[in-house]
Symmetry: C2
Subunit: 317 residues, 2 copies
């Protein structure tokens, strides 16, 4: 089967658009978007490369889902509502089964948020996926990294470290963990609803892709503040707790990447409302520390300061 | 030298933003854009892959320039004014000299149009470049492929076939041509000014990336019309004319890709104004045919119909 790029687009990636404001989607030189007055457009672009971000034998459907999830996680961290995506797909060959799986996974998540695929590019080459996601947020309500204030409380959604442990399992470094744990790596759920609620409550927000310690550091740098995180309060699964103990690695969850949870700061005055609002979320919302004026990020365990030894993932380092 | 992705972004890809409407650029989870009322945003994403879209030994500066030029050409074909770009760069290694060259080339073109780089992603893997360009166009004035009407005249900017001939020269298929000709392949000039003027004059427009015959076909399909193109009227350089004669390949320029010229249709009533407006362009504007109701695309040479034998570039075909 030798489908051309146009046939691939038509067969696997053309759907009717559902979002308001999309005047023109797939099929012309550009897509055309209208942003309603009073709203800003938030845009984010991410690439996943074979053998760097995913294994060659990863399930195509999970990959299609995750490729979009990574971008929606960035939108969530800004408090933006997902609207549109573009997809640049580089394929070594045309494999109909793979394309159907990838497309199914992509649209599984897209449909959940009524997100439209409005354009893209299909090229030949080593497998990689680049997605730009576009969301909207009311003027002035976007959650920036730079807004954390001294005294604000630090929260995290969900549990952290599971994806990192699942990655170790895929690499054969630890015994294979259960399918639910693998799902945390392969099909992360972007915290879109939390991001929307946090628009009015959080002072700063970031999504955890490189590891909690590294990503929270970005917030501290942008906000020119410090913080103390109580490692005893970290929301961890039993599997991660057990792994940390067995390996005397108390900071594993702090440096493991790919969680795609949100880490955010909340001024004291909004804490009550956060507690009420977060009750509707299907995942935990846990206070793990506090912003201070120390200019650095410290971690406490049993009241003692611990050093971070693990390295969060960095390309080229 | 082992720069991290953050250091690469800071050193080579962070500039102050110049465009109105960019509230937040490089450095957060998303960039934030405001589109003024009455304007639509046009977006287009394209990937260039090593050994598919460019040779390994291509000059980094030319590559940085061309990667953006390809996207600006798409904006031009919609009549959109360039505003912002995002860049997803996948690199096999950190090479400071290469990065400086690529960045210089990218910003050489970006600065020409006061375009801001507002975000991106740097990943490790086989060299490839994905750029999404964002432009604006007043509501309802975008040039679509679907607007060509029967009787409209067909025009093309610049000359065609030069990039295709230069590509043959790079491959060693023909004798090395002069540097100006190579520039037509390596540093195509997007026809931004023409696109802006054509908003009010053209009924349909496309940029020539796959070859005039293939790209004009897209317009005919979208507009549900046919056309006759007079191959004797095609604007060709002496080098391309000579190549076509030597090789008895009268359709070479029609099927050669990478021209990044605009092909557009103009209703008879706007022809006079087009002639006046196009006098200010630094490249020719040539009438090459007419839209008809035949439902097909025909080419005439010396009054005789010719068949197109060359194939325009298609991935996977």
């Amino acid at each position: 089967m030798a489908l051309s790029e146009f046939e691939i687009i038509k067969q696997y990636f053309t759907r009717s658009t559902k979002q308001p404001g999309c005047e023109l989607g797939v099929g012309d030189d550009c897509a055309l978007l209208t942003v309603e007055p009073g709203m800003q457009m938030a845009v984010t672009i991410d690439t996943l490369v074979e053998n760097v971000h995913f294994f060659t034998d990863v399930d195509a459907q999970a990959l299609g889902y995750k490729s979009l999830a990574v971008s929606l996680s960035d939108l969530s961290a800004m408090g933006a509502e997902p609207r549109y995506a573009t997809l640049a797909l580089t394929l070594p060959e045309v494999n109909a089964l793979w394309l159907q799986g990838f497309s199914d996974g992509f649209f599984e998540l897209a449909d959940q948020y009524h997100l439209d695929l409005i354009g893209g590019d299909i090229t030949r080459g080593p497998l990689s996926i680049t997605i730009q996601a576009h969301g909207v947020v009311p003027d002035g309500q976007a959650l920036l990294r730079s807004g954390a204030g001294i005294g604000d409380l630090i929260y995290v959604t969900g549990v952290i470290g599971d994806a990192g442990l699942a990655l170790k399992s895929c690499r054969g470094d630890v015994q294979c963990c259960d399918p639910l744990m693998l799902n945390r790596l392969h099909k992360p759920e972007p915290r879109v609803e939390a991001g929307l609620v946090l628009r009015n409550l959080a002072s700063a927000c970031v999504d955890i892709s490189d590891g909690l310690a590294a990503d929270l550091s970005h917030v501290l740098q942008a906000s020119k503040v410090g913080a103390v995180v109580n490692a005893d309060e970290l929301p961890l699964s039993e599997a991660v707790q057990s792994y940390q103990q067995r390996n005397s690695q108390p900071d594993f969850a702090l440096t493991a990447g790919e969680d795609y949870e949100l880490c955010f700061t909340v001024p004291e005055k909004n804490v009550k409302q956060l507690e009420i609002s977060s009750r509707n979320w299907s995942y935990p919302c846990t206070c793990i520390g506090r912003i201070d004026n120390s200019g650095q990020l410290s971690f406490l365990k049993n009241g003692q300061r611990i050093e971070i030894t693990g390295n969060s993932y960095q390309h080229f380092s």
